[in-house]
């Protein structure tokens, strides 16, 4: 799956102070530029955007695509300047009317995924009213509890996102004995447990996993009957998108299903469960095998051919697209796919290649913040 983020264009603008902005509203594009070093205030930018797109009245949200392909919001000075400074080189801006935008939270993979992820809005208590906290959808999720509606209340299905962040997953598992209720009474059975959390690791920072939680499933596959090494291998193999179902050792913080937080992920949560019929409880609802594949990290391919040749980046084969195409993400994807190929000049590819070539051994050591781990394929 080569969804191309044209690194090739990097070089064209690399030294300029100007940042090219490509702004999209509905089906319309506008292009303008900003000063990379002095982007100015968000307010001004917002006005500029409204002006260029001739949007008069409606409230809009502004988002941009970051290097990972994630759709992130621009709603204050800080993230605006971050967006401009990290634009490499093109800043892709997406504008949506606020009412439309509600259905699609910002977050990981929205650009690349057909389905929007449901960021649990009720995650974490909102303590002080006076502190201005952005909406949860304005953040990139690092973890989520999923499938609350299909799992027993005593279980918790946690999804860990590793957006190419440098944070380690940071936990250990061990063998242990779990007590199960059977018709014959209580019985002990071997089980897999979380044995240790690495301070500062992703697992710990989510607060959703704890030492002595029993691991029941890894990405929808039961671990019962599997050895510790097997489960370890499964977790590592799924580490880019790890979904663990646990039975928390501390059962006091369980989600009580009847009392699901008001304003919680109502329709959007259900829309994720677009699988036909009611899936059996064991099935991961928000995670289909197909999705796993498209969601998978693509391999990096460096073609070291030296004779000049045209770039042959192919658009991503159209995946099973959602019929409800009103959302931003599918459109966006289409746009990217169309806008992608043929744009890059072969000359720039060669400049990049020659930049990579002198020491091919290091060719895969990508610039920090570049395409790494979670990034799409770099096909040059």
């Amino acid at each position: 799956m080569n969804r191309s983020f044209h690194k090739s264009q990097t070089l064209r603008f690399y030294d300029c102070g100007a940042v090219e902005v490509k702004s999209k509203f509905g089906a319309e594009f506008r292009r303008f530029s900003l000063d990379r070093h002095k982007p100015g205030k968000f307010e001004d930018f917002y006005k500029l955007v409204l002006h260029t797109h001739h949007i008069s009245s409606a409230e809009v949200t502004i988002g941009y695509a970051d290097v990972h392909g994630d759709l992130l919001p621009i709603n204050n000075d800080d993230n605006f300047s971050k967006a401009v400074s990290s634009a490499s080189p093109l800043l892709r801006v997406f504008i949506q009317k606020r009412e439309e935008a509600d259905h699609y939270g910002f977050g990981a993979g929205t650009l690349r995924k057909k389905k929007a992820l449901v960021a649990p809005r009720d995650e974490g208590p909102r303590r002080r009213a006076q502190l201005r906290i952005g909406l949860p959808r304005d953040f990139r999720p690092v973890s989520s509890i999923i499938d609350v509606d299909v799992l027993p209340e005593t279980h918790r299905r946690v999804r860990l996102y590793r957006h190419g962040c440098e944070k380690p997953l940071g936990f250990y598992i061990r063998d242990g004995a779990s007590v199960r209720v059977t018709p014959q009474g209580l019985e002990k059975a071997p089980g897999i447990f979380i044995s240790r959390m690495v301070p500062g690791g992703l697992a710990e920072s989510t607060g959703l996993l704890a030492v002595n939680d029993e691991v029941l499933e890894v990405n929808g596959i039961e671990v019962a009957g599997k050895t510790l090494d097997q489960v370890t291998d499964m977790m590592i193999a799924n580490s880019h998108n790890l979904i663990i179902t646990v039975k928390p050792a501390n059962q006091r913080n369980n989600v009580v299903r009847a009392g699901r937080a008001p304003g919680g992920p109502g329709p959007s949560s259900d829309s994720a469960a677009s699988a036909p019929g009611r899936p059996p409880p064991r099935v991961l609802q928000n995670f289909h095998p197909d999705e796993a594949e498209s969601d998978d990290e693509a391999d990096i391919v460096l073609e070291g051919a030296l004779e000049p040749r045209a770039p042959r980046a192919q658009p991503a084969p159209p995946g099973p697209s959602r019929p409800n195409g009103a959302g931003l993400a599918p459109r966006l994807q289409r746009e990217l796919a169309l806008g992608g190929p043929g744009r890059g000049s072969s000359g720039s590819i060669h400049r990049l290649l020659s930049a990579l070539r002198p020491d091919p051994r290091h060719s895969l050591v990508l610039p920090p913040g570049g395409v790494e781990e979670h990034g799409p394929a770099v096909t040059l």
């Binding site: 063998d175 990405n219 596959i221 594949e293």
Partner: protein, 1002 residues
């Protein structure tokens, strides 16, 4: 949509799968691990070996093999064939007796256990009263006499194992019937020997450990004669005519006692200590065998001078003034002498001595002067030196086969001309479909070539790479040590030699091109040898080249072993594979992958630091590529730095053991309820006590040993563009990187003038970073590319070079198909993410259908770390079948597995045994044989002695063969189906010949 289409098995495909795949463990090759007992049936001419794990294996003529396993898993202590029957009794070390029989089912014999039995004494008797020490199957075929530790002899009726109380011979009864003067010493103790009179079934000889020998009349219940020796008795032998008894003793002496009616209490006729006068060890077993010519054979075990040769394992043979002490490489379990089988014959006329040592079986020809060895067709010691790697080559062209056999033939100069003497039973196994070679690399730097075509794994040729190097021990030293007149007359026999002079010599990778006869062999110290098959002896210098894989990277220090120093100047090589190029990797780390392309004359090799390509035609290095990650200090420093972690892990595991042992002992005297849950609970307890934890972390580029080159592959494919294909070299590393190099090989006419060029064309980093264990290119029809020269020899369809090629990369976790020349992911199958298993071994195999003659499919045979074997389809990567094959804990078994090109495979079940398995319905090599009682008329020979009769049998055999020559040729040519190997393949013709003559005899 696709998701729904995928689900639900397609019935047509399921049917086809049944025609293609089937899992069988067919035969065990090699020498049984830890043998503990030997039995031989003179009438069936079948050899039986019992092991410490309770297995019993029967061997007859080549191809006639049976295996049985006692449920108890206790060591087999004794094996006794019942005279004149297809039955045998085994005694285990738990004092249980088991009756096995060979039953004919569907024209094929099967070994099965009929009865088991444990001798029980009267209540309150000491356990020693019923502890069986010797067993004697009586020639009446109904009784089994059991001597015990208490000195009693019990009679048990067969086959039901019914104890006959009235037939028992208690020590009291014997004592009462002894004359006064013999009773004064405590002569009883345990029964050491029990023998039936060779001519008179009513008499048995009972030998007690304190030295008393008694001839007992079974009918009259009285002592016919008694002999009293001053030494502890070890064993006895009754001369064929019953007139002489030879006893052997614990002081290394043996005595002869005349048996005659008149003198009831004779002194020994002679008493001698063969290796005296200094104290000797016991002679534990003795045979006294008469010959037609007059002088007897004395064959005994042990008796060596205690001080100087007490540690030797010897069987001595003395005959006609000659005496040789065969000095074995390991402890002797037991030995048997093959002699005249007919009890009525006048003389023994022994012709072969079969010695079962702990690590090998040795057969000595007693008819040929000098007593040479008879090379066994089976039970070969695979582990003469520890096996370090193996490589299988299917379907060897006849020409190469013959040359290897010829080279091997010249290595066995002093072997007996005798046909294999253990030839009971008839093999009905179809002739092997093709000639297969299994090559094993050993720790001592040798490579052994085994004929793996059929049921018998037989050594064809042995190659040693030691000559190329300077080692501490000079090979000429051993030769000079021999030849001097010495006493005892020791003669070393056997090939088991587990001690390696230099661990660096160990062979790690082997690659043989069956069409050109080029062989590449790589070892522990980074040495890569390229060898060529030469039918003549030759003396030449081996060209040496150093391959610097670090390519002037600064600041690294290799702390591992030094590289081997090559022998300067010309070296003499015997006929066979002769090395001509030696490439030494620098740093001299273990060679981890090897590939040879005989058409392009290129050899590629990889270590933990990188890989290189060598042109062995021009003898030039083409390129080297360093694959190290700069931060990978561990790989740079070499194996020494790993020692620390090994020590650490050892310490941890000891700690764990200690912790888990204590409570398990405490828990022993617990209650009885329900075995199952109890065992599970014990397992749980161990788990709680030994908290092993595993870190969950994504792999990163900084992990150790990412540069380790796991696989190398040559392919002629579309690497750069879709219009031109070119030679290419692919390499996969432990860190999930795949490198593709395009090669320019000059045309044949300029092959020596122009250099081979290579440049990197692709670099793929698998994002899951799992080690790459296999790379295959599929042609336009999605068929794996053929081997080099395969097309040139018309043995394969030329690959489809029109359509687009595909690259299959197999990592430990996933299978992935990429398009070529533009590399983009097309298909994948995740294994680890879904099952938690990892790929350990993968190979492309062709599966033929058992129904349609010419139908076949190429698929991947995969072995996982859980010991499962799976077939994954090509090119769609759909799992087809899965069988569990090897125990998950059997790490060495999993590591040793090799697949063949036709869906079979081998893995080590012990250091000395390969288990052969088959995934194919079509290619199945398994023993199919019949053992029937020889008709007495047929077996009772017209002349004296068994051998002449055998010889005439063979003569007739060859006569019939020449008669049927035409027919045979015809059969053969149809069998071979134009495979281009029509000819007289020796072993096949032999097999056919047997079949015909057997038909004639009936």
């Amino acid at each position: 949509m696709r998701r729904f289409l995928r689900s639900g098995p397609d019935p047509a495909r399921e049917r086809l799968k049944r025609d293609l795949f089937q899992f069988n463990k067919t035969v065990e090759h090699g020498f049984p691990h830890q043998p503990s007992a030997l039995g031989f049936s003179p009438s069936l001419r079948i050899l039986a070996i019992g092991t410490r794990s309770g297995a019993i294996k029967l061997y007859g003529a080549p191809g006639v093999e049976f295996m049985g396993l006692h449920q108890e898993n206790n060591a087999v202590v004794q094996i006794h064939f019942l005279p004149g029957q297809c039955q045998l009794v085994t005694l285990l070390d738990d004092n249980s007796l088991h009756l096995w029989s060979l039953k004919v089912k569907g024209g094929v014999s099967e070994l099965q256990e009929d009865e088991s039995f444990t001798l029980r004494g009267p209540p309150g008797a000491a356990p020693s009263a019923t502890q069986v020490t010797v067993a004697l199957p009586h020639s009446s075929r109904e009784l089994l006499y059991l001597g015990t530790e208490s000195g009693s002899v019990f009679a048990v009726q067969l086959p039901a194992f019914r104890v006959l109380e009235d037939r028992a011979i208690s020590s009291d009864a014997v004592l009462q019937r002894l004359p006064e003067e013999a009773r004064h010493r405590r002569v009883f103790e345990m029964v050491e020997a029990l023998q039936e009179h060779p001519r008179d079934p009513s008499k048995v000889l009972i030998g007690y450990s304190r030295g008393l020998l008694v001839i007992w009349d079974l009918q009259g219940g009285r002592v016919l004669a008694h002999f009293l020796s001053s030494q502890q008795l070890e064993n006895v032998c009754w001369q064929r005519d019953g007139r002489l008894i030879v006893s052997c003793h614990s002081d290394g002496s043996y005595c002869q006692w005349p048996v005659s009616g008149d003198t009831p209490h004779p002194e020994p006729l002679t008493s001698s200590v063969p290796y005296g006068p200094f104290p000797c060890k016991a002679i534990t077993k003795i045979f006294w065998l008469t010959t037609k010519k007059g002088l007897p054979f004395t064959i005994f075990q042990g008796g060596m001078p205690r001080a100087s040769y007490g540690d030797r394992h010897c069987v001595s043979v003395a005959h006609d003034g000659q005496q040789t002490a065969f000095d074995f490489t390991s402890r002797i379990i037991d030995f048997a002498v093959l002699a005249e089988a007919d009890p009525a014959a006048a003389f023994d006329d022994p012709y072969a001595l079969v010695v079962l040592a702990e690590e090998e079986l040795v057969v000595i020809d007693l008819r040929t002067a000098g007593w040479p060895l008879v090379p066994p067709p089976y039970l070969s010691s695979l582990h003469c030196s520890a096996i370090t790697c193996s490589h299988h080559v299917s379907n060897i062209p006849l020409k190469l086969w013959e040359r290897i056999v010829a080279a091997g033939g010249r290595q066995h100069t002093r072997v007996s001309p005798m046909e294999w003497p253990i030839d009971g039973g008839t093999s009905f196994a179809p002739p092997p479909p093709q000639r297969d070679l299994l090559l094993t690399g050993h720790e001592d730097g040798s490579v052994r070539f085994w004929d793996a075509s059929g049921v018998c794994l037989q050594l064809l040729y042995k190659l040693s790479t030691v000559r190329v190097f300077l080692t501490d021990s000079d090979p000429s030293e051993n030769l000079s040590a021999q030849g001097e007149e010495e006493w005892p007359p020791l003669r070393k026999v056997g090939s088991f030699d587990p001690y390696s002079d230099d661990p660096r010599l160990g062979i790690q990778k082997i690659f043989l091109c069956k069409y050109s006869g080029y062989l590449a062999v790589a070892g522990t110290a980074g040495q890569v040898l390229v060898l060529e098959l030469n039918d003549e002896e030759a003396e030449h210098a081996v060209e040496q080249v150093e391959a610097d894989l670090l390519q002037d990277q600064e600041g690294y220090r290799w702390k591992g072993h030094e590289r081997l120093s090559a022998r300067p100047g010309p070296v003499r090589f015997e006929p066979g594979f002769q090395p001509f190029v030696l490439v030494q990797c620098q740093p001299p780390a273990v060679v981890t992958s090897l590939a040879l392309h005989s058409e392009w004359r290129l050899v590629a090799f990889g270590t933990s630091h990188g890989f290189g390509l060598f042109d062995h035609q021009q003898r030039r290095q083409v390129f080297v590529k360093c694959t190290l990650h700069p931060s990978d200090q561990l790989a740079l420093e070499g194996p020494l730095s790993r020692v620390k972690s090994l020590k650490k892990s050892l310490r941890q595991s000891f700690r764990r053991m200690r912790r888990s042992r204590v409570p398990s002992q405490k828990q022993r005297p617990g209650g009885l309820p329900g075995e199952g849950p109890k065992a599970a609970q014990a397992g749980l307890r161990d788990m709680e006590l030994a908290p092993v934890q595993r870190k969950i972390e994504a792999r990163t580029a900084e992990d150790s040993f990412t540069g380790f080159v796991r696989t190398l592959y040559f392919a002629d494919t579309y690497l750069r563009d879709s219009s031109r294909h070119c030679p290419s070299l692919w390499a996969g590393t432990n860190g999930g990187t795949v490198y593709g190099f395009s090669l320019r090989v000059p045309p044949a006419e300029h092959r020596m003038d122009e250099p081979v060029r290579a440049e990197q064309a692709k670099e793929i980093q698998l994002m899951h970073r799992a080690p790459v264990v296999g790379i295959v290119v599929l042609d336009g029809h999605s068929v794996p590319l053929p081997e080099p020269l395969e097309v040139a020899h018309d043995l394969s369809k030329s690959p489809d070079m029109q359509g687009s090629h595909q690259l299959l990369v197999v990592s430990e976790e996933q299978f992935k198909v990429f398009t070529l020349p533009k590399v983009s992911a097309k298909l994948k199958l995740k294994l680890t993410a879904l099952e938690g298993s990892r790929v350990r071994r993968v190979s492309v195999a062709h599966f033929g259908s058992c129904r349609a003659e010419d139908y076949g499919e190429h698929h991947l045979a995969v072995l996982t770390n859980l010991g499962d074997i799976q077939v994954v389809s090509l090119p769609l990567l759909k799992p087809q079948v899965r069988y569990s094959c090897i125990r998950q804990e059997d790490v060495s078994g999993i590591a040793s597995c090799v697949f063949t090109k036709y869906g079979q495979g081998f893995y080590l079940i012990s250091p000395s045994e390969f288990e052969r398995f088959s995934l194919s319905t079509k290619w199945l090599v398994e023993p199919r044989c019949l053992v029937a009682l020889a008709e007495p008329k047929n077996h009772r020979h017209p002349h004296n002695g068994g051998r002449p009769e055998k010889a005439s049998h063979r003569a007739r055999n060859s006569g019939s063969q020449s008669d049927g020559e035409e027919v045979l040729k015809e059969i053969q040519s149809t069998l071979e189906g134009g495979q281009g190997s029509c000819g007289d393949w020796h072993s096949r013709r032999m097999a056919m010949g047997y079949g015909l003559s057997n038909g004639e005899a009936e």
